[in-house]
């Protein structure tokens, strides 16, 4: 019996060793691999890169200055709101080429759309950054300290969420005055509660975990715990929400600009461009069509990427 015992012990050691020698797979590598394997994530990422490139290379790509009024500067006299003229598709070579036509102020629309990408991207990122920082802070504070702090913060969030979001944004802009900066602030305020709630839920869960209680009992500083242990573990859903939030922010900003409450003319923001030409949709549909498509493609890019990210980060899917 003892001889068999020894044999089995050696066997078990060898087999366990085999297990230990396998390399663990890094979480990041696995996430990126999964992200790139799904169609939606790939296309989203690709589109985002394209848009970024367009935004950065705007001065090179745009044939005209976006603010340049072209009366009298062209060889052939231009009509206001002229339809697109693309030489490759048969437009008379004598007329100057304007791929997306001329807007109501004799400016080249294509250039304006190109430059508009810069504005939309910065709107998306700055709004979400503000909302995430504010929301995460408030949510973490509420969850960590509990009690009346939690109550007050969450009631405030409830009040904000008690209004349909765009309407509250409109009201805030009405108070602060129209303009891009105020529109950004308004949208950030309106979207903040989602991050606050999410963070609060995450922190509440992690707070109850044994290792946190143990650390506190051993005298660890609550702030350090919050910043370095608790929050990083709750990041995933926030990252996904933020990516999708960029899409929503761009849409909301365009809506505000459309109503005249966001970016003001002559800024080449897509919503503003759409809004100023909306009464001419029947005579000059290209001035409505192209800005809208630009918005749609950009928003779609972030939505697809956010979806892909969410699926890639889903802990329930096992390889």
């Amino acid at each position: 019996m003892s001889k068999l015992g020894k044999v089995s012990k050696n066997l078990s050691d060898n087999l366990d060793e085999e297990l230990l020698l396998q390399k663990p797979v890094s979480v990041w590598k696995r996430t990126i691999k999964r992200l790139l394997s799904k169609r939606s994530g790939k296309i989203g990422l690709l589109l985002i890169c394209v848009i970024f490139v367009i935004a950065i290379a705007a001065p090179i790509i745009a044939p005209y200055d976006p603010q340049e009024v072209l009366i009298g500067k062209e060889v052939v006299k231009l009509k206001k709101r002229e339809a697109p003229c693309i030489h490759v598709f048969g437009c008379d070579k004598v007329k100057p080429q304007h791929i997306m036509g001329i807007d109501g102020n004799y400016r080249d629309q294509f250039s304006r759309i190109i430059y508009g990408s810069r504005i939309s991207l910065s709107i998306g990122f700055s709004t979400v950054s503000f909302a995430v920082v504010g929301g995460v802070l408030l949510g973490a504070l509420a969850a960590f300290f509990g009690g009346w702090i939690d109550n007050i913060i969450m009631r405030m969030m409830d009040v904000i969420l008690g209004f349909p979001s765009l309407l509250l944004a409109i009201a805030i802009v009405a108070v602060l005055g129209p303009g891009i900066r105020n529109a950004l602030l308004a949208i950030a305020i309106v979207t903040l509660p989602a991050y606050a709630r999410l963070t609060r839920a995450s922190v509440l869960t992690v707070k109850e975990l044994d290792y946190v209680k143990a650390s506190l009992a051993l005298g660890a500083s609550p702030t350090r715990l919050l910043l370095f242990r608790i929050l990083p573990n709750s990041l995933t859903p926030i990252v996904v929400l933020a990516t999708l939030g960029i899409a929503t922010a761009i849409l909301d900003a365009a809506g505000l600009s459309f109503l005249g409450l966001g970016a003001q003319p002559p800024t080449p923001e897509w919503g503003t461009m759409l809004g100023s030409e909306r009464n001419q949709v029947f005579s000059a549909p290209h001035l409505v069509f192209f800005p809208g498509i630009a918005i749609m493609i950009t928003v779609l890019a972030f939505n697809l990427f956010g979806d892909g990210l969410r699926d890639a980060l889903d802990p329930r899917l096992n390889d």
């Binding site: 089995s8 078990s12 366990d16």
Partner: protein, 330 residues
């Protein structure tokens, strides 16, 4: 070996799953049969294919699974060749199955009474009212206290043991010929476990239902089984009646299992675990699947063990083992 009292005869059943790494064989060429009133226990570790075998027979495999080959003759019908529509008439009626976690096996938004009465409405063509009456009777039969108010309860209001009794009530409602129980007591407390097992035995005496009991708990096997099927890595490695398999196991895996059962009162320093782990289904060895962990192998059979999958050698018509060491003993 078709006998009048044989209810189900499974021959050479092979089931595969489609995965991102290709098709994987989860159940490899298993065969068994069960007679009226018998209890057959299929025992093995998690992932050995015992549940998948049952699901294959019932036609309840998930979309990524499919039966590659084999037959399952039940009352002159091959279940594996039947369409969904045809199988629906058998399921819940002549063939029933209960599952591991009773809490999640019941529809959370339907009242318990409605869920039991549903089976009467489907198979015995009863109206809702009649179904509810019979449901109440069934609840009494499975010894549920205060059955009238339980009928109106929702599943989340029941304890695990209570929920499993409901599942048994549903399964036995139409007096099926075969009841497949997939780890019915694994999710329950030990005390409740014995109650449920007793209930199943009692019902079986009344209705002569054949029971296929899937479990990884050798204690349950000892208590309930007439015959035992030991599975490892998708294959049957030993079969026989319960006394023989427990007292004189042949296959090294079965032997190791029996040895690993702790004996109360005996002093040991270290529990006898089986070293190593089950090979992954997508990286199966070309020879015997237990070979790496086997301590019975000797140099005489080692080449075979490592390179050829042993067939099942039958000691006699009732006891067999899939091991090269038995080659001379047939």
């Amino acid at each position: 070996m078709s006998n009048q009292s044989t209810q189900l005869e499974v021959k050479n059943l092979t089931t595969c799953f489609k995965t991102s790494k290709g098709d994987v064989v989860a159940v490899d060429d298993i065969s068994f049969s069960i007679k009226k009133g018998e209890t057959l226990c299929i025992v093995g570790e998690s992932g050995c294919g015992k549940s998948v075998s049952a699901l294959s027979v019932m036609g309840l495999l998930p979309t990524s699974g499919y039966v590659k080959s084999g037959s399952a003759i039940f009352q002159n019908n091959d279940l594996l060749l039947m369409s969904s529509k045809e199988l629906e008439k058998f399921r819940g009626n002549r063939l029933s199955m209960i599952f591991q976690d009773p809490g999640s096996s019941l529809n959370p938004v339907m009242r318990v009474g409605d869920q039991v009465s549903e089976i009467f409405q489907i198979h015995l063509n009863m109206s809702k009212h009649e179904g509810l009456e019979k449901a109440l009777e069934m609840l009494k039969q499975v010894e549920i206290p205060d059955p009238e108010s339980r009928m109106l309860a929702f599943p989340h209001e029941l304890s695990g043991g209570m929920a499993q009794r409901i599942m048994i009530a549903i399964a036995l409602a139409c007096n099926p010929d075969i009841l497949i129980a997939d780890e019915p007591t694994t999710a329950l407390d030990v005390t409740i476990q014995s109650q449920i097992l007793n209930l199943m035995s009692e019902m079986q005496l009344k209705t002569q239902t054949a029971i296929i009991l899937i479990t990884h708990d050798l204690g349950v096997v000892a208590e309930m089984a007439d015959n035992v099927l030991v599975m490892y890595c998708g294959q049957i490695v030993e079969y026989g009646d319960v006394k023989t398999v427990f007292n004189s196991p042949i296959h090294p895996y079965t032997k190791a299992l029996m040895k690993s059962i702790p004996v109360i009162g005996k002093k040991t320093r270290r529990l006898d675990a089986i070293p190593g782990r089950v090979p992954s289904l997508d990286m199966l060895p070309s020879g015997c699947r237990f070979e790496k962990r086997c301590i019975e192998k000797n140099n005489y059979v080692l080449t075979n063990c490592q390179n050829k999958i042993p067939p099942i050698f039958s000691l006699d018509s009732l006891h067999g083992s899939r091991c090269w060491l038995e080659k001379g003993n047939e």
